[in-house]
């Protein structure tokens, strides 16, 4: 547990979260959400939760992003907010 | 007071309930009506079989299930309940006969439904009569309200539906909105709902709360049609006449009054009411109802509507009798349940018979009808006398006792009210009789070749009329039951 790194990544996480909600394009939101998951994964390894980090790496980064992209493919990318 | 446990009260309640499946499954009308008849007779016999025991001063008790300490489904047959049960079960037989004649005479639809709900309503009536506590009473009261709803709406047209709605709104609305919370509050105060000879609320609450409870109970049982909550009754006149007869003479309104009386005596107790001086409230309310009801009746043209307002007035006599809180007054009030029942049902039977025979509903169309339907109108005359309280009929006794009671209680105003009301009664009944017999009939009556109504319609009304007269000379079972009740409640011999 290194608090400096923790702090840095936490900031990144918030930026990514806000970014993925602000982007006016659902595909972009999906991609940024993937980035958000990466950050979370890093964060959790910093906190020593390796199993959680592993799960987040495989689920958040891999599967959920792909699922988002698949859903966006079947619906539309348009969004007004 | 010794008590014995017996299943008879339950049987008396259930007998008409159990017959409903048979009614539904009957193939032909004859079978169906036979079953109804059998049930009516059986019910009457069961009730009758308990009479000697009660007259001996014993009570019959039967507990079905207990939900809470002091609040169970429990039957207790005492003299007052017996009085009411006797009236209603005997009149059911007669009404059944009359119904058969009436319904067939008019070729009404959905007769099976009619007979079924009639049977259920009677079950509930007996249930109310025999209930040993407020909960049981409330239960059967609600069942009765709901079972009579299809009867009120029998014609299924717009008018019937709106009347049905009104009926339900008044009856169920008040019972849920006022009677139920009052019941719960009193349960919370006293921890029991069992009717006692001197009530169970004594010493549990302050005067304002008791007054509030009294108010909630009196108006909560809106079937008693005390004035602000009376307007369902004229509206319910759209129902077929046997139903009106049932509503006004036997089951519904009497259940309301019975419940009020029960509550006044069994929940509050006369001592409590006396000590808090709450009787006068009842007297004021009832006097108002009596006078205003009679006055409105005077202005009605529809025969059944007139009878309805007459009923409103007459019902308040009963409550008034209790409100007097004197032994004689109580006796008079209880006796009036029976006397008014027989008188009023005669009148309704007559109205129905006229309708079956001529299709006429309004008083103004009935000029000279007595010449075509002498028996019917003769019975009408007797019924009117009974209601007015004039000697050849049983109605005399109840009015007599009420007058005595009000003298006993030093309520001279009530004496005036009673006399005035009797005068008004005479005012609205006698012109009908006069016109029927002594005026020249209109041509229309002859064009349609009006004759007496079917036998099934005429016989019952003759019977009830005769019974009304008999009561003058032999008021025994009812008078004795009433006096027994009063002596039990007040602790005095009359």
């Amino acid at each position: 547990m290194v608090w400096q790194l923790d702090l840095a990544i936490l900031t990144l996480v918030v930026i990514t979260a806000v970014g993925s909600l602000m982007v006016k394009d659902l595909l972009g939101a999906a991609i940024l959400f993937g980035a958000y998951s990466f950050m979370m994964c890093a964060l959790w390894s910093i906190m020593g939760a390796v199993d959680v980090a592993f799960t987040e790496a495989s689920v958040g980064a891999g599967v959920s992003t792909v699922l988002f992209v698949a859903a966006v493919l079947r619906t539309s990318r348009r969004t007004r907010d | 007071m010794e008590t014995i446990t017996s299943i008879k009260p339950l049987l008396a309640v259930l007998v008409s309930l159990l017959v409903t499946p048979l009614l539904v499954s009957s193939r032909t009308p004859n079978v169906r009506e036979a079953w109804t008849f059998v049930a009516a007779i059986a019910k009457f016999l069961i009730v009758l079989s308990m009479l000697p025991t009660i007259l001996k001063g014993t009570e019959i008790v039967y507990t079905v299930a207990e939900f809470l300490p002091g609040a169970a489904i429990k039957f207790r047959v005492d003299s007052f309940g017996m009085l009411f049960a006797l009236v209603s079960s005997s009149l059911w037989i007669i009404t059944t006969v009359y119904s058969i004649g009436y319904m067939r005479g008019l070729k009404e639809h959905s007769q099976t439904r009619y007979f079924c709900f009639f049977a259920i309503a009677l079950s509930a009536t007996i249930g109310v009569a025999f209930s040993a506590n407020l909960l049981t009473l409330y239960l059967f009261y609600e069942i009765l309200s709901l079972a009579t709803y299809p009867l009120v709406c029998h014609h299924q047209d717009h008018e019937a539906r709106s009347s049905g709605r009104k009926y339900l709104l008044y009856i169920v609305g008040t019972s849920i909105g006022l009677a139920l919370p009052a019941m719960l509050i009193s349960y919370n105060l006293a921890g029991t709902l069992e009717f006692g000879n001197q009530g169970f609320l004594a010493g549990t609450a302050s005067k304002p709360l008791i007054g509030l409870l009294l108010f909630m109970f009196i108006f909560g049982f809106a079937k008693a049609a005390i004035m602000p909550f009376h307007s369902w009754l004229p509206a319910a006149m759209v129902a077929p006449t046997p139903v009106s007869a049932l509503l006004h003479a036997v089951a519904v309104v009497k259940v309301g009054v019975f419940s009020v009386v029960r509550v006044l005596t069994g929940v509050f107790g006369t001592d409590l009411l006396l000590s808090f001086d709450l009787g006068s409230i009842i007297l004021v309310v009832c006097s108002f109802t009596i006078l205003v009801g009679s006055l409105i009746a005077l202005s009605q043209d529809g025969l059944k509507r007139m009878l309805a307002f007459s009923t409103i007035a007459q019902l308040s006599y009963i409550v008034l009798g209790i409100g007097l809180l004197s032994p004689k007054g109580l006796t008079g009030g209880m006796l009036h349940i029976a006397m008014h029942a027989f008188g009023k049902i005669t009148l309704f039977f007559c109205a129905g018979a006229i309708f079956v025979a001529t299709g006429k509903k309004n008083i103004s169309e009935m000029i000279g009808i007595g010449r075509r339907m002498p028996i019917t109108m003769g019975a009408f005359f007797i019924g009117a006398l009974s209601i007015t309280g004039l000697p050849p009929c049983g109605g005399f006794w109840s009015k007599w006792y009420l007058l005595l009671g009000s003298l006993e209680a030093n309520q001279m105003a009530i004496v005036v009210v009673l006399l005035l009301s009797s005068f008004l009664n005479a005012c609205y009944f006698m012109p009908i009789v006069y016109k029927a017999f002594f005026c020249k009939p209109e041509d229309s009556l002859f064009e349609n070749k009006v004759r007496e109504a079917p036998v099934c319609c005429v016989v019952p009304l003759v019977i009830t009329a005769v019974i009304s007269i008999v009561f003058l000379f032999y008021p025994e079972p009812f008078l004795e039951l009433a006096t027994m009740t009063v002596s039990r409640i007040m602790g005095v011999q009359i």
Partner: protein, 498 residues
């Protein structure tokens, strides 16, 4: 074997759900018998468990053989066992009753539907039986997910309303999880009993307060307590009838159970009623909920939607009753869980029967229904009477307790609300009955008032029999109320509540 009842009642449905989804790919006809058998076993174990609990008191079942604070344990007490019986019996009856309707409404997808149905029941049973705060969350999610899937199978608008339900449901579940986290951070335990033991010195802590509020709000979201109810009416209205008649009676009731469990076991009544002193505002909220539910129901012209608003009002009953803070109110709330589950089941099974024969359940579609489906409507009348609160039916008795509780604690507003709601129920149900009874059947344009010309098109016997079992149950439960209260509920409420 009776030692393993607590495990069996969960495991058998779970395994059978898996089996169903396998057999669905092999032979579809086997699915229904498996589901029925599983639920029957589960109901049997639940009843056995209830009897055992009545005999022996609290039963502790250690999953994995670990002692409670370490492993997960079931604590089956009277409250649990009662709700378990209700859940399993309701689910079983509804499953049997809705076979035809499932086959009609979801041709080709019956097998997964049965699987989801059984999973839902598993989840609900698990939520009720578990004694671990986090385990409850997982089971809640199973319930929720299978519920979403089933609700989404309805008409055109079902997916949208289900999606809304999903958002709200997720927020609710997450709030609950958050609350458990707050508790964990100050106590270090997840076991409900263990938490309750550790909490007393921490009652002043703000974290505990926040945990309590957050848990409560989460549970309220899931149970559609008034200001948070917006998702419920649409989600239930557009759902397939078999799903709504499972979910409507059970899910909200189980959530109320969870709330009562939180109050009674986790936070203890001492904290909830004495230290917090927020019961008055919550009862007021319940009053508003009842009023709003009743009024919104009045505005509806669609039978199913009307019923959903009534559910909102009924939730108000139970929340208010539980928060009265006295024994009578709590008894009323617990009793009403049982009664309301049965009442709602009966009403929704009627709706399901109607939907089976008719196109829709808007009021205009219901004309002349008494002629057409007399038996179904007979049961409907019983359900209506119970919801109104007419004595021999069970609805009266729970109302009785609730009002008594309100009087005892001096919350007269709650009493007025209950009475008002009963009155509105009278209006609502008799309006429906009137339409079904008196309006001419709409398909016959030429006949008008000719009531005899309408054909009788009653639902099949397989749907009617369960319906009548439920209708009979409404009256039986009413008659045996005293037994339920004296032998079960009396022990379910801790002695500290007076």
């Amino acid at each position: 074997m009776s030692q393993q009842y607590p495990a069996l009642l969960i495991i058998v449905p779970l395994l059978s759900a898996l089996l169903i989804s396998i057999t669905g790919w092999i032979n579809k006809r086997l699915c229904f018998p498996i589901a029925v058998a599983a639920l029957a076993v589960s109901a049997y174990s639940c009843i056995g468990l209830l009897l055992r609990v009545v005999d022996e008191g609290v039963i502790v079942y250690r999953l994995g053989g670990w002692d409670p604070p370490m492993g997960i344990a079931y604590y089956v007490d009277h409250l649990n066992a009662l709700v378990l019986v209700v859940v399993s019996v309701v689910a079983l009856i509804n499953l049997i009753g809705s076979k035809k309707s499932i086959e009609l409404e979801m041709p080709g997808k019956t097998a997964p539907f049965y699987a989801l149905y059984v999973l839902q029941v598993t989840g609900l049973l698990g939520v009720v039986v578990t004694g671990d705060a986090f385990n409850l969350y997982v089971l809640l999610e199973i319930t929720a997910l299978s519920g979403y899937a089933m609700l989404a199978m309805g008409d055109d608008r079902a997916p949208l309303s289900t999606l809304n339900y999903l958002y709200i449901g997720t927020i609710g579940a997450c709030f609950y999880l958050l609350g458990v986290g707050y508790l964990y951070i100050v106590t270090g335990s997840l076991n409900m009993v263990d938490i309750a033991n550790i909490l007393p010195p921490l009652y002043e802590s703000k974290a505990v307060l926040a945990a309590f509020i957050i848990c409560l709000v989460g549970v309220w979201l899931k149970m559609a307590f008034f200001p948070l109810h917006a998702w419920l009416p649409n989600a239930y209205t557009h759902a397939p009838s078999a799903a709504s008649s499972l979910i409507a009676p059970l899910v909200t009731k189980v959530m109320i159970y969870v709330m009562i469990r939180l109050i009674l076991t986790v936070f203890t009544p001492e904290f909830t009623f004495n230290i917090l002193a927020i019961s008055e505002p919550i009862v007021w909220l319940a009053v508003v909920a009842i009023f709003m539910g009743a009024i919104l129901a009045l505005a509806e012209r669609n039978l199913k939607k009307m019923l959903t608003y009534i559910i909102v009002a009924e939730v108000g009953y139970m929340v208010g009753g539980a928060w009265l803070g006295n024994r009578l109110g709590m008894t009323g709330a617990i009793l009403h869980i049982v009664n309301d589950a049965l009442m709602t089941l009966c009403a929704f099974m009627v709706v399901s029967n109607v939907a089976y024969k008719l196109k829709g359940y808007a009021f205009d579609d219901l004309k002349g229904l008494f002629r057409k489906m007399p038996f179904t409507m007979g049961a409907f009348v019983v359900a209506a009477l119970s919801m109104i609160g007419v004595p021999p039916t069970c609805g009266f008795f729970s109302k009785w307790y609730l009002i008594s509780g309100a009087i005892q604690s001096g919350q007269y507003a709650f009493m007025v609300a209950l009475l008002f709601s009963s009155l509105v129920n009278v209006v609502l149900f008799f309006r429906v009955i009137e339409i079904c009874f008196y309006e001419p059947f709409s398909d016959h344009h030429g006949h008008g008032h000719d009531h005899h010309a309408e054909p009788m098109a009653e639902a099949p016997v397989s749907m009617l029999v369960p319906l009548y079992v439920v209708a009979g149950g409404l009256i039986l439960v009413g008659i045996y109320t005293s037994d339920i209260v004296n032998y079960v509920i009396e022990f379910a409420i801790p002695k500290s509540i007076l």
